[in-house]
């Protein structure tokens, strides 16, 4: 990290850095020191910016969370109607479209999709900006890029859930009572069909944060993913360490929240 221009640093400079990072101590001691600091939310100082890593990461976290949230909203907005439609009439035309949507969603790399969206949405049509975080318009392309990868999985999951739920006796009962199709689908069936999707959201948060690394770099989005990429290029180990720790904490927290939420959404869980 001293060799940013490929020019050899002096022996004194190397020694001083080694001392300040505590690299002259035994490994076990280094680990204990590190752990002690982490418990006090001290992740050390970034080698490239010289500021506390905790501060650097937390100041960028809202941007990443905002984009991730927008991408989940987009994914659900697209997946819900397609999923419900294809589960309602398996083999129908919505179902056939849904297969293509699902296939392209899971097989299209985010980097390529992002470039395509940039080329058509920003260069040709000039509807959206190419880069930066600047109001609502700037979040659209990154959120679509990140969210589209999730759409396929959700479509299939909602579809399966719908097919299964629509077979249940209480749906037949609802039909017999003469309820309208939308009412049956949206009020009675969807609620139960969505439960697996909630679990999936918890599992997917990890891949979302991973995908954010690519999308943030592509769209110059000032979040933690882009920061981590820069840290990797700069060999800023302290930041990389902090980033890994933070994303691990987020994934664990979200999964825990989903598990706890489950009990409220599905009263049957409480009985067990």
């Amino acid at each position: 990290m001293l060799r940013t221009d490929g020019i050899q640093p002096t022996r004194e400079a190397i020694e001083a850095l080694r001392e300040s990072l505590g690299l002259n101590e035994p490994v076990a001691l280094q680990y204990v020191h590190w752990l002690g600091k982490v418990l006090r939310f001290d992740l050390g100082l970034s080698l490239s910016t010289g500021r506390p890593v905790t501060e650097e990461l937390l100041s960028r976290l809202p941007a990443t969370l905002g984009m991730t949230l927008a991408s989940v909203i987009f994914a659900l907005l697209l997946a819900l109607p397609i999923g419900i439609g294809s589960g309602w009439r398996p083999g129908g035309w919505i179902d056939r479209i849904s297969r293509w949507v699902a296939l392209s969603s899971v097989s299209m790399p985010a980097y390529w999709l992002g470039l395509l969206l940039l080329f058509y949405g920003a260069v040709r049509l000039k509807w959206f900006p190419v880069a930066g975080m600047n109001g609502f318009k700037s979040v659209v392309l990154p959120a679509v890029t990140l969210g589209f990868g999730m759409v396929g999985v959700y479509v299939r999951l909602i579809r399966t859930g719908m097919i299964e739920v629509l077979e249940r006796p209480y749906i037949k009962a609802a039909r017999a009572r003469g309820l309208s199709t939308p009412s049956i689908l949206l009020r009675h069936a969807l609620h139960n069909a969505l439960l697996p999707s909630i679990t999936l959201l918890g599992v997917q948060i990890g891949s979302l944060l991973g995908g954010a690394v690519i999308v943030e770099t592509l769209f110059a989005w000032p979040g933690i993913g882009k920061f981590a990429v820069e840290a990797i290029y700069a060999k800023d180990y302290i930041v990389i360490q902090g980033y890994v720790l933070l994303t691990a904490i987020i994934v664990v927290t979200v999964n825990l929240t989903v598990d706890l939420l489950y009990r409220r959404l599905d009263p049957r869980m409480k009985l067990r």
Binding site: R3, T10, E12, P81, A122, W127, P129, A131, V140
Partner: protein
């Protein structure tokens, strides 16, 4: 009823479509969006004349842009702060904040007469005290390797507009060091807290340069505006926005969409594979700025086969330098001749000759040296030992070295020299280069700008207290380099450099490959885009103009 559901579903889709596309206020027809008037919808103030946006690959660090530290973007350093002197064409030293200077007979005392009436961007006055303050903040830091710092003995303000420095040795490139982007430039005592304290904490970038910091959003953008107190000719533009776009492809797209007006150079490198697309775009112009560095092969003097001068000459002759620049690098850059391109001081047409491309002569030289392919495997041998080398490279910092090395491998193969490519991770590569010498041939580059030729020559071709020269070791060469650094006479320096370059070529101490160029692409509305003289002032920002 089914169609009630359909109505709802269709409404849902329509809403979605509106969310995706319709949220843009300009979401009209294609043609409307192509007109210049519609450009304003990007939220960037494109239309107000005198403002432009530049794409940079990383955060410029405006909040830590201390004149005396190695932090943040070098380019912005040079825009905000001025030095005592400036690096002109071919390294000629031009006056900046010092109008004139005197150097004592023995080359150890420098007296600078400062420009009068200069104000920092905050309105405070630039004088000898401010200059002394700027130097004293860093010259005593032992980790600083500049000669200005290591050789300095005294620094005093003689009167309000004169400062004098004394050094423990004569070292002609001292003035050149004072042209650097950092840490030698002048900063206002009000930039630190408490104000005027050399140990104070940096709080704000205040310089005398043509530009001053206006707004900064970390990782997103930095806005510079014209400094109303600038002592030189005022810039034509009133505002420059540096927008962070880390992905090279996104920078290309941002140029095409008109969202940025200029990109390229070291601050936001453009991918060579997009060159054709950019060239074909009617709204864009291309500027090439000749660099000061060059790429070349270092030979390991410990290798017995490379100790043979004919072998070293043969390697030089077998490489088609023209083809590297033309075919591999898309015509960006030129064929290398001597170690340094002609933009470097003391390099002349006559003292910077290369070996050209002549594989037939290369073969003759190998035969003359006693090498012949006896077992028919395509590799020449002598005394049963095949003529084969490992070539070490890295491709993280210099991805182009991979293709260059592959081409060299095949060219050397055709004259009977085997080459085994060894791609290393950057740290391992630099260890091989500087410490372990675990290579036969290694590809490297010369430094940029003001480090050439003196600093590069002394760090590669001179032994240190503990180690032999990093590149080729030659006693005669080392003596000449030592002599030129201490020489106080310009004509004498030129003669010595001529001799240095001649000796290097005669001994074929390395094989030169390629002189890179910086590539810039800018919107046609930008006028007067001209290349500067250093990598950190690659564009002459003050002369840029924009029109409609």
């Amino acid at each position: 009823m089914p169609f009630t559901f359909w109505r709802k579903t269709i409404t849902g889709f329509t809403l979605l479509a509106m969310l995706l596309g319709g949220c843009s206020g300009a979401g009209g027809s294609n043609e409307a969006a192509e007109t210049p008037a519609a450009k304003g919808t990007h939220g960037m103030p494109q239309e107000a004349s005198g403002e432009m946006t530049i794409a940079v690959s990383r955060d410029v660090g405006l909040d830590k842009l201390d004149a005396g530290a190695y932090e943040g973007s070098m380019d912005v350093h040079a825009m905000i702060y001025d030095g005592l002197v400036r690096y002109g064409e071919k390294g000629e030293i031009e006056p900046a904040l010092a109008e004139t200077w005197d150097i004592s007979e023995d080359g150890k005392t420098y007296t600078f007469h400062l420009r009068k009436g200069v104000k920092f961007s905050d309105g405070s006055e630039f004088n000898a005290e401010a200059a002394k303050f700027s130097f004293e903040r860093w010259v005593h830091d032992p980790s600083n390797s500049l000669a200005v710092a290591t050789a300095m003995q005294t620094l005093e303000a003689i009167d309000d507009y004169t400062i004098r420095m004394t050094f423990d040795r004569a070292y002609y490139p001292l003035l050149t060091e004072l042209t650097f982007a950092r840490p030698v430039r002048m900063i206002s005592p009000n930039s630190v807290e408490p104000a005027g304290d050399i140990k104070g904490t940096f709080v704000k970038p205040i310089g005398t340069g043509a530009w001053m910091a206006e707004r900064y959003k970390a990782d997103q953008e930095a806005v510079l505006v014209r400094n109303p107190n600038y002592w030189g000719e005022a810039p034509k533009l009133s505002k420059i926005t540096l927008k962070v776009i880390p992905d090279p492809q996104s920078r290309v797209l941002a140029l095409q969409s008109g969202e940025v007006d200029l990109a390229g150079g070291a601050m936001g490198r453009l991918p060579l594979e997009s060159l054709a697309v950019l060239e074909g775009d009617e709204s864009l112009n291309i500027l090439r700025s000749p660099g000061t560095s060059s790429h070349f092969l270092i030979f390991n003097g410990k290798n017995p086969q490379l100790q043979n001068l004919d072998v070293r000459k043969a390697i030089n002759l077998a490489i088609d330098k023209q083809s590297i620049a033309r075919d591999l690098m898309g015509g960006i850059g030129s064929e290398a001749k001597g170690l340094f391109p002609a933009t470097v001081p003391y390099v002349t047409e006559s003292n910077s000759q290369g070996y050209g491309f002549d594989p037939e002569q290369a073969k003759t030289l190998l035969t003359q040296a006693g090498y012949a392919d006896e077992d028919g495997d395509g590799i020449a041998e002598k005394d049963g030992k095949p003529l084969s080398f490992n070539l070490v490279l890295q491709q993280v910092d210099y991805p182009e070295w991979k293709t260059m090395s592959e081409m060299i491998q095949s060219e050397l193969k055709s004259i009977g020299i085997g080459v085994n490519l060894q791609v290393l991770e950057p740290n391992a590569y630099y260890d091989a280069l500087w410490t372990t010498k675990a290579y036969d041939i290694i590809i490297y580059r010369t430094y940029d700008d003001a480090y050439n030729p003196h600093s590069f020559l002394s760090s590669l071709f001179r032994k240190t207290a503990s180690a032999p020269a990093a590149a080729w070791s030659d006693e005669q060469l080392e003596e000449m380099i030592a002599a030129v650094l201490a020489s106080t006479n310009e004509a004498e320096r030129q003669t010595t450099y001529d001799a240095i370059f001649k000796r290097m070529k005669e001994e074929a101490m390395f094989a030169t490959l390629y002189y890179p160029e910086e590539l810039f692409v800018y919107n046609k509305r930008v006028r007067q885009a001209k290349a500067g003289h250093t990598t950190f002032e690659a564009i002459r920002w003050n002369e840029l103009e924009v029109g409609r």
